[in-house]
């Protein structure tokens, strides 16, 4: 290999990269906020007694889980403006697409969490005369959150990685900036390596947190 | 405690001499260098002995069996088998010195530990084929014969998940017997079973007893202990506190700790 590495030119692009990084962080944070909250609501609706509520919600979940995220993003960017005759700024649109995708995956995580709550606890709630919303808020939510937490975090990290896909529809996130720099400077090797490293380092603390959670849960199980 | 004390039950004239079967000499074992479970333990077992080990929970009964099976190391002392070195403590840990002697010992566990991906027959023939290099046909024939003796002839092609607890445990016994061991170790083999299945497993063990199989049995079932044992050993605090014939230990325990323990468990029953 006789390639001459040159990382030096990247220092001049720092502000572009930071700008992109900020967009990526916004996408990740907002979509996660949406996914964590709406995911739980969707999960409850998908487990509802009423078929007319349950079925559409289940379809929503399965559809988002069984199609490519890239397609979902492209669909939102091209079809929403046509279908609803609205203009939405790209970052909001990105948050919407990524957030709804995460909502579907998180709903599944919550469902697994709720199903891990022992049947006896539901009986106990009835015996204690707790109202249905009290049962959900004080008994089901805390326990299922505990089981679901590692999965929610993992989903959150993969969402950050998936957020790179908005670059394909020209949202100026970290990936998009990297792509433009790589093309402008004819230096894909250095640029993409740096971008990959940034994504990797951002995910690192959170995946570490997941490990800690899982280990603690294993320990709790043994008790 | 020295070896001479240990042999309480005088053997009949034709039995093997002391020190010729399993012999533990001053065995020391601790988990993580701090939890002592065998504290200079001496034990002498003859080929016609059926030892039942009793003692409080956590007194190291399972540990003793696991050491004899080579599943756990010891940090001090030696174990002989047939007068030859079987397990030696070296460099603060131990190893099974003789694979040949190891293959003369079989063990049955509390939780069956059958191989879930193999059928009953698959479980039985794996070790004789792979360890002793026997041919498949003779192993299968032998397996069938054994299963028939244990009342399991119609379960040959079942997977373990399709069997009841009692059936699983009998298959586990058959699997160990396939290797024709001289000594069988049973660690609370009925305590995971529903009450109605306990008898079918205990009957198989009584069958083996009638055939003079040497056994070491850990159980909390004092009634069964009394029935099957030639010698009862009470362990506590890493030491053998008392041993003797079932009548001696159950009928007239000498040590206060034995009495206390028996009072507790017999009251529960």
């Amino acid at each position: 290999m006789d390639y001459q590495f040159d990382f030096h030119f990247l220092t001049g692009k720092a502000d572009m990269l930071l700008e992109g990084l900020w967009v990526t962080l916004q996408l990740t944070l907002y979509a996660n906020a949406m996914g964590v909250v709406l995911g739980f609501v969707l999960c409850l609706m998908a487990m509802s007694k009423f078929r007319m509520l349950r079925w559409p919600c289940q379809l929503f979940i399965e559809f988002f889980r069984c199609t490519p995220v890239l397609l979902q993003i492209v669909w939102f960017f091209y079809c929403i403006p046509i279908l609803f005759q609205v203009y939405i700024d790209p970052i909001t649109m990105g948050v919407l697409a990524l957030g709804l995708n995460l909502t579907a995956f998180n709903a599944e995580a919550y469902r697994a969490g709720i199903q891990s709550v022992p049947k006896a606890h539901f009986d106990a709630c009835v015996a204690l005369g707790l109202k249905s919303w009290q049962q959900t808020l004080y008994v089901v939510l805390p326990q299922s959150l505990r089981t679901a937490m590692p999965v929610l975090l993992t989903n959150g990290i993969s969402l950050m990685q998936q957020s790179a896909l908005v670059a394909i529809v020209a949202v100026s996130d970290l990936m998009y900036m990297g792509k433009s720099i790589a093309v402008d400077a004819y230096r894909p090797l250095e640029t993409y390596s740096l971008i990959a490293l940034i994504y990797f380092l951002m995910a690192l603390p959170i995946s570490h947190l997941v490990n800690v959670f899982e280990r603690r849960q294993d320990a709790a199980m043994q008790r | 405690m020295n070896t001479a004390e240990v042999v309480v039950n005088m053997p009949p004239a034709n039995a093997m001499e002391a020190g010729q079967f399993i012999q533990l000499d001053n065995v020391f074992k601790a988990y993580n260098n701090e939890l002592v479970v065998m504290d200079g333990m001496n034990l002498d077992m003859r080929a016609d002995d059926r030892l039942v080990i009793i003692g409080p929970s956590g007194s190291g009964k399972s540990s003793l069996l696991r050491v004899l099976m080579g599943l756990e190391g010891i940090q001090g002392g030696d174990i002989n088998f047939h007068g030859q070195p079987y397990i030696k403590s070296e460099n603060n840990d131990s190893k099974v010195v003789s694979d040949e002697l190891h293959s003369r010992v079989g063990m049955v566990f509390q939780h069956y530990t059958l191989f879930p991906h193999l059928t009953v027959m698959g479980n039985l023939i794996l070790a004789p084929m792979k360890v002793h290099g026997k041919d498949k046909q003779s192993c299968i024939a032998k397996g069938r014969e054994l299963l028939a003796r244990l009342g399991l002839e119609d379960k040959v092609d079942y997977y373990p998940s399709q069997l009841s607890g009692g059936q699983k445990q009998r298959v586990a016994i058959a699997r160990a017997l396939m290797l024709e061991p001289e000594l069988m170790l049973f660690d609370e083999v009925t305590s995971a079973l529903d009450p109605e299945m306990v008898t079918e497993v205990q009957n198989v063990m009584m069958q083996l007893a009638e055939q003079k199989m040497a056994m070491i049995i850990v159980t909390h079932d004092m009634h069964f202990a009394r029935e099957i044992a030639t010698r009862v050993v009470f362990c506590a605090g890493g030491k053998i506190v008392e041993q003797g014939t079932p009548d001696e230990v159950f009928g007239n325990p000498k040590e206060a700790r034995t009495r206390e323990f028996l009072d507790k468990v017999l009251h529960l029953n």
Partner: protein, 221 residues
């Protein structure tokens, strides 16, 4: 603007061609990646720090960075580093295989580690040699346990493979997007493409559940 789904029919054969490319690349990379993943999972148990460390870095990196960058990196940088030109489809096959290898190695590692200590004890009690234990007891059980998560990994790969459209491979996503651009009917075509992906992926996710429950009743593992 009128929404009219009947315009998609003439394009169905082309879309099916795209689906074929997607399925072929998914299957090829799933098989190659799973083999790689199995070897990697074993390599990570080796007592050599250098080997297990390097493999860990590989796995963490491919799991911790966006697949899109991996695709771009291998597409644009491999040729530069190696000084040879690589055809696009070879490049994406390398990417997806390396990605799948990293993902499945974790699946196999999990299933190998999930074999209980009791099974190892039973092998020792029967006097089985280490190699016999691994080949006849550990591997079969670990592989059986790995089947459902492995199927899930393959479904994920099927979806993720849509990214190869971004480097110009004519898969289902690429063709769908091209037609939607050239006909200016994104709603009809993108929705159709989504339904095609769904129709393939959804039954597979159900299959995972079915296989899992079969395993449970048959082997209790």
């Amino acid at each position: 603007m009128e929404i009219d789904f009947s315009i998609i029919w003439p394009y169905m054969p082309v879309l099916m061609q795209g689906l074929w490319v997607t399925v072929a690349i998914t299957l090829g990379c799933a098989i190659a990646g799973s083999l790689l993943g199995f070897v990697v999972s074993l390599g990570r148990m080796v007592n050599n720090v250098l080997v297990s460390g390097a493999l860990k870095l590989y796995v963490e990196f491919f799991r911790g960075t966006p697949l899109l960058i991996q695709l771009f990196w291998i597409f644009f940088c491999f040729p530069v580093v190696l000084g040879i030109s690589i055809p696009p489809y070879v490049s994406v096959i390398i990417s997806l295989t390396l990605y799948m290898g990293a993902i499945t190695s974790e699946t196999f590692r999990g299933s190998l580690k999930s074999i209980e200590q009791e099974q190892h004890d039973a092998c020792t009690a029967l006097g089985l040699k280490h190699s016999t234990k691994v080949i006849y007891i550990i591997f079969p059980q670990a592989l059986l346990r790995a089947i459902p998560p492995l199927l899930s990994n393959i479904v994920s790969l099927f979806k993720e493979s849509a990214l190869i459209s971004s480097v110009g491979i004519a898969d289902l996503m690429f063709i769908g997007q091209n037609i939607s651009n050239s006909t200016a009917h994104p709603v009809e075509f993108l929705t159709t493409v989504a339904i095609i992906y769904f129709v393939v992926a959804f039954p597979l996710t159900r299959l995972v559940g079915y296989v899992e429950s079969r395993m449970l009743t048959r082997y209790a593992i």
